[in-house]
């Protein structure tokens, strides 16, 4: 048996990994079924059978070319949960059959100061951070010359860019933690969010709802600021202490100086002044919603007289992502999701709803059950 396994390993390593996927056909973002290849397994590589793949709004922006032109068909997805199907000869951290996760990037230079500090997402070295999808990359690493994401049956990743997933967390609702979860956890750690503090959450979507859960698990009181009362029930169920309607001037005034931190996940231009007003002295507004123009204070007078801070934050490093998964496992934190089959029609519908903010709070594609790996050629 051992010899037979070894033969099998060699065969897999010698050839590229065929993979069925869902890919955007063009700038419309419309999904089609597509077949791609992952690189042949190198010594440090892991072949993953994808079980669940989360849908992040970044997928939509990228697939539609809103963040730059893309080549099509284009497979996105960077909240990837799966099982180890095979490992390269030098893999020491994972074994065949174990649950495994991949987030928003799959490589970095490994030699710059940022990589050395575990901040691979901010890699400043040659090539920089290699995004899980849409990144121009050597043909040898990403057949086709562009990295392709996780709306797919199979994935290949270097073990140093994979996350250990506790057995109980191999569930659809854990997939979004790999992007949405770490995008909350990392700035909370970086900026020293502490038990007993008050955390304001602005934008109760995929990121915001995780901020409420993780913030509460860290011992904070979470206050959700929302433009309408329609999200009140959900917010309280998620663990928020209360919901403040941000268009209610009296309510906002009553909560002036109430929050040590604001987690602002609104991804379009908006007036941030009302949220600065509810920050306590020397408080920090954490910005995670990418807005090319806007969503910034009008002038420095908005932050100087009370010593306020505006902090950008981008996902998190590999070590920190592992800490986040372990923290969520310990505190039984999962995302609130809607599970959908891996068909072009279902993903098209889900994207349309996501664009209308009509999702509670993240779609996850049921990859394993509905997108079978092709037979090896």
């Amino acid at each position: 048996m051992a010899e037979s396994d070894s033969d099998s390993d060699i065969e897999i390593m010698a050839q590229q990994v065929p993979c069925n996927c869902l890919a955007a056909a063009d700038e419309s973002g419309r999904m089609i079924r597509h077949k791609i290849f992952r690189r042949a397994l190198g010594p440090k590589d892991i072949h993953i059978s994808v079980t669940y793949s989360g849908i992040c709004h970044s997928d939509i922006h990228s697939a539609k070319g809103e963040w730059g032109a893309q080549a099509y068909p284009y497979c996105v997805g960077h909240e990837i949960l799966g099982r180890v199907k095979a490992v390269g000869s030098g893999v020491s951290k994972f074994k065949v059959g174990e649950p495994i996760g991949v987030g928003c990037f799959t490589d970095s230079c490994r030699i710059c100061e940022e990589c050395g500090e575990g901040n691979e997402q901010y890699c400043s070295g040659p090539g920089g951070t290699c995004g899980t999808y849409g990144e121009k990359a050597p043909e040898s690493l990403h057949p086709g010359g562009i990295s392709q994401g996780g709306y797919a049956s199979d994935f290949v990743v270097d073990e140093n860019y994979a996350i250990r997933i506790p057995e109980k967390m191999d569930v659809a609702a854990a997939a979004p933690l790999l992007c949405a979860g770490i995008t909350c956890f990392s700035p909370f750690i970086e900026h020293g969010l502490k038990a007993g503090q008050t955390l304001g959450v602005v934008g109760l979507g995929g990121l915001g709802h995780m901020a409420v859960k993780i913030g509460k698990a860290m011992g904070c009181e979470a206050i959700v600021f929302s433009r309408s009362s329609s999200k009140t029930e959900d917010a309280l169920r998620l663990g928020a202490a209360k919901v403040v309607i941000s268009t209610d001037a009296e309510a906002m005034k009553a909560h002036a100086r109430s929050c040590h931190f604001i987690y602002n996940s609104i991804a379009f231009d908006h007036d941030v002044q009302p949220y600065l007003n509810v920050l306590r002295t020397r408080g920090t507004m954490i910005m995670v919603g990418g807005v090319p123009k806007g969503a910034m204070p009008g002038g420095t007078f908005a932050i100087i007289p009370r010593g306020l801070k505006i902090a950008g934050s981008c996902i998190g490093g590999i070590r920190e992502t592992q800490q986040m998964i372990d923290f969520c496992a310990e505190h039984n934190i999962l995302s609130d999701i809607e599970l959908i089959p891996a068909t072009p029609e279902d993903v098209d519908k889900a994207w349309a709803r996501a664009i209308n903010s009509d999702v509670k709070f993240r779609f996850v594609i049921d990859t394993a059950k509905t997108l079978t790996a092709p037979d090896a050629a």
Copy 2:
């Protein structure tokens, strides 16, 4: 003798303190000679003979009504150095004859969280921080109903809002530390500026030149970013390791990701992106120049991908101001100044030059020698 001193104390406490000053006549900011009264000494009050009074650009903004309408004649100045002339019966921290300083505020609520933490400049309690000048205040505390500043022969302040000045620091060049010095020192402490780090300084004026000196004394390498080479010699003399011309795209590119912190003291709208570019990953740009509209990043994309922070900071608390003075005394740090006589004509000229950034780097009024206290009525 003891009895005679005591009689004298009682007499002083029983009556308001007459005071000669220079005051803005109207919104033009034009100086006139004026006479005002300070409150009669309460038990915790100190009567100060002002020796030196620094000129801060805030004085000009305020006197010209640029930050809100004022009542005239209006005496400004919040970098006040002097000698204790008399003390109230309950004063324990200062003795007659000692050097003493007063900065940007002279009172606060003393009961709010901010005051409790020594951040009186951010007081959130009843009445808030009482600015050294231009603050509406009870007649009993500020005869005339508005606080009047330090371009004056005499000053009265509660001992809890006064700063101990080492004997060797009773020099004109120490006065600006009470505003410009603390406006650098406080954010450096708050944000953890460390020896060995690189500090970028943008805007080499009253604040910026102190940032170079204090940053260097803290063990940092200071890089001055300047629009022209005209300030190179001064910057190097002040202790900067180098000067980078901010309009030289190549030079700016060569310094990309070079600074742990940027101290941005430009007090008008400007494009901050070039300075964000020279911040290291997760670096912080400290904003101290009050700009009603502008001097902010264009959108959140400017700060998210590299985890950058924009931090407002406003002077510092009393305890921190004392630490700053002690630090500057230990490291022989003073401001670079031009000393001018306390005449309306000289202050008018100094203000005109300050508006044109034609000062290296702070004007100080020689109050003691040229503005004599009036005889007590």
